[in-house]
């Protein structure tokens, strides 16, 4: 599926980060990050392993607390909101985990129902079934509804993980390494799914990856995380049109030059 160019609303950042710092013991992972995610765009965050890409989206979703700086999601500062406010905010943010994080004691149906019935308590059985079937159809896995996660392939697990976040109709999607550990064809399918989600659900997304094919196919904008800061930001071509020895090997390795 070819990516449709999206006109992001640059006056309307849904996520705004300023001076974000995070360290683990003595090791500073994020060293003063500034970033905006605009309404409707797919922003790809690239970087080497251990550079704090996943830490960044865990801070955005409130799983980790920042040491310094401001992280505003829909104009709410994540570090200074109550537990109830954070919970309400999280319903508007979908998080697709690197290893899918499916609840392995539940069937696919129960996995999808779990967040839905706990966040929308007044739904009838019929409405719940319709919602589950709709998202399963959206990720193309209707036939897996009664299967256990252990019976699914890696690619199917990723799709169900994405479906579980879509069931709450999130406005922001955070993808942590969506193509990690998958074969090239499944990677392309997942990239297509990310684009389809952007168009169908009108989401703004941050995609964490070090897979340049994924970055090229899904990203409207690329941000390169180097030495704890975003060093290069722009379109794919703008970011990689450089002789910077920290950036070039990324391109050379992924496109075998």
């Amino acid at each position: 599926m070819k990516k449709v160019a999206v006109q992001a609303d640059h006056n309307n950042p849904v996520i705004s980060i300023r001076g974000l710092k995070k360290a683990f013991q003595d090791y500073a992972v994020l060293r003063g990050i500034d970033l905006d995610l605009y309404q409707g765009e797919n922003l790809v965050v690239l970087g080497r392993s251990g550079t704090g890409k996943s830490v960044l989206i865990k801070i955005i979703s409130g799983l980790l607390k920042p040491d310094e700086g401001m992280v505003k999601v829909f104009d709410q500062d994540i570090a200074h909101i109550t537990e109830d406010e954070l919970q309400k905010l999280r319903i508007r943010i979908g998080f697709s985990f690197q290893n899918s994080a499916l609840y392995d004691s539940m069937t696919v149906r129960k996995n999808l129902e779990f967040p839905l019935v706990r966040n929308k308590r007044n739904l009838t059985r019929g409405e719940i079934n319709t919602a589950v079937e709709t998202v399963l159809d959206a990720v193309g896995l209707s036939q897996t509804i009664n299967q256990m996660p252990s019976e699914l392939s890696g690619g199917q697990r990723k799709r169900i993980g994405i479906a579980r976040t879509l069931i709450l109709n999130p406005e922001i999607m955070l993808y942590d390494e969506p193509t990690a550990g998958l074969d090239p064809i499944t990677c392309i399918e997942i990239n297509d799914l990310i684009n389809e989600v952007q168009q169908r659900y009108n989401t703004s997304s941050i995609i964490i990856t070090h897979d340049l094919t994924c970055a090229k196919q899904t990203g409207d904008r690329i941000a390169m995380l180097l030495d704890g800061q975003f060093q290069r930001t722009g379109t794919f071509e703008e970011v990689f049109n450089t002789n910077d020895s920290r950036v070039k090997p990324f391109y050379d390795y992924n496109f075998i030059e």
């Binding site: 865990k58 979703s61 409130g62 799983l63 919970q87 309400k88 999280r90 319903i91 943010i93 998080f95 985990f97 690197q98 290893n99 994080a101 499916l102 609840y103 392995d104 004691s105 779990f114 967040p115 706990r118 966040n119 308590r121 579980r164 976040t165 709450l168």
Partner: protein, 268 residues
């Protein structure tokens, strides 16, 4: 003035000891917060009643066979081992009373709690530990649900409610084991045995036994959940959580047994 006298001989050991002490008190603080959080969340709607019932079933089923066998064997062995001492004074007829006091007051709750620590505590620790390591708990959190309520409150309530039931069951199975041994040797009838079993028991015995089982059940649940919910370091962490759940729960059960026996002793 000689300032060197104030320098400790083993500064590294002292620093290590200080660190261990500080870690110990920090862990105590975290456990305290965990327990307080349970009371804050468990009794506030929305309730996860279905999950509580499912967990009660899990706890009961997981331990049922082992508790049945162990309870029966404890009854038989205790009766058999007590007979020679009583027979020296020609007091074999006191055997049912002795067995009932020992089983109802101490053995049934203790044996049930120890078995549940091993079977249920380790299982809870490993299950939640595995969920933590595979980010399933994080996934629940980011989807706007309350994993503490769903995972911890339900399991602690289930062990607190189910262990007393299992303990009562263990008591009766153990008494049945004792009866088989007594009737084989002394030819005592079932009716006489039951009369002699209940004669020495008081209301305090039943209440104390029930309170003990509730406390043990709560301890097993909260320790298993604490270990699992706070586990880390990958698969190694899962093993540590399961192991820690069993050892800590057993240790606490013995301490609680001593304290409750002392307290109930004042009411007798």
């Amino acid at each position: 003035m000689d300032n060197t006298q104030s320098i400790p001989k083993h500064p590294k050991r002292l620093a290590k000891f200080k660190q261990s002490l500080s870690d110990f008190f920090f862990t105590l603080y975290k456990i305290n917060q965990f327990i307080l959080r349970f009371f804050r969340e468990a009794f506030v709607p929305p309730f996860e009643l279905k999950e509580v019932v499912r967990q009660c079933y899990e706890v009961g089923v997981r331990s049922f066979t082992l508790i049945s066998v162990t309870g029966f064997i404890v009854g038989v062995i205790f009766t058999k081992q007590s007979r020679p001492s009583l027979s020296q004074f020609g007091a074999e007829s006191w055997l049912p009373s002795l067995v009932s006091i020992a089983i109802m007051r101490a053995l049934a709750p203790l044996v049930t709690a120890l078995i549940a620590s091993g079977k249920v505590g380790s299982s809870i620790g490993a299950e939640l530990g595995s969920m933590r390591v595979t980010e399933q708990i994080d996934a629940m959190e980011v989807s706007g649900t309350k994993p503490f309520k769903y995972l911890v409150c339900t399991r602690v309530l289930a062990t607190t409610l189910t262990i007393p039931i299992l303990s009562t069951y263990t008591g009766f199975v153990a008494l049945f084991g004792g009866y088989l041994n007594v009737t084989q040797n002394e030819g005592t009838t079932w009716t006489t045995f039951i009369q002699e079993v209940f004669e020495p028991l008081t209301f305090t015995d039943f209440v104390a036994s029930l309170i003990k089982s509730i406390v043990f059940g709560f301890t097993i649940g909260i320790v298993g959940c604490y270990q699992g919910y706070n586990s880390n370091k990958g698969t190694e962490g899962v093993g540590k959580a399961a192991n820690g759940a069993v050892i800590t729960a057993m240790f606490l059960v013995f301490i609680e047994e001593v304290i409750i026996v002392q307290i109930t002793g004042w009411f007798r």
